[in-house]
Amino acid sequence: MTVEEQIRDIIARITRVDKSIITRQSTFKEIKADSLDVVQALVAVEETFGIEIPDEEAQKFQNFGDFVSYVENRVAQKEKV
């Protein structure tokens, strides 16, 4: 499973939306994710990938694609180390 697929599964589980509607352009509002859903998704993603996503970074995510790109970069950096 790719990073994107794993994050999509996590968000769909938390917000209980059909994962087929979550595209890289989807905003959190479109996914029906409220601020608690977002925090819970961040925590679940952090635990899945063994990374830490500070709120300062998370606040910059405009859509699902931003979230995925950020995590992909962090995972790639981690693998380099």
Partner: protein
Amino acid sequence: MSFEGKLALVTGSGRGIGRAIALKLASQGADIIVNFFRHRESAEQTAKDIQALGVKAEVIRANVGDPAKVDEIFDMIGNKFGHLDILISNAASGVGRPVADIDVKAWEWTMDINARALLLCAQRAAKLMEGRGGKIVSISSLGSRFVLPNYTVVGVSKAALEALTRYLAIELAPLNICVNAVAASAVETEALKFYFKEGLVKDSRYVTPVGRMVIPEDVANVVAFLCSEEAFMIRGQTIIVDGGTSVGLFALAGK
């Protein structure tokens, strides 16, 4: 008041009230364990500011709403220090919604972080205070007894926190552990800015008889007092720090 040689854990101490409490206790000589969940930069800054006061600071990330993470905090303290003198249960979260929109997830999230965390932390802390005694102070809010718009689940969690504070005070008294709470009205913090944004509270400067808002240091001063030997006979109480707001409601109505 001196806390020299004492070790204090302040949950949620990267910012706001928790940070002010950590700095206050550190300024009186206590070594501090800074706990945070979402804002590492702020926590690291708090630790630096504590160290600049000439005492030790340790940073640990944990969501106190998660029992496994609470265990991680206390396992670290046990392994590294072997004891604890002061526990400040300050970390809080919440979901601002009208009653009709509170779902189980929002309820559990808020209750777990704001109320259950005190139970789990106090249980572990009491073991680390065994034979030496200790102080536990929890941070509540006026929402535990007064109704604020969209504050239901937080207010209820704070009421539970205050009730738990009373039970802990009695059960832990034989272990020479003093347990109390401090409840503040709206305090000028980052969290309050969030509530302003969400439209939960209006500028409460105008409803504080003292003429200014409560600031984190006002709360920290009372917490430090409750952690001192001077407060030895105060047990299970919730001390309100609100500039008189809660006793002055009717007096202010005509202003």
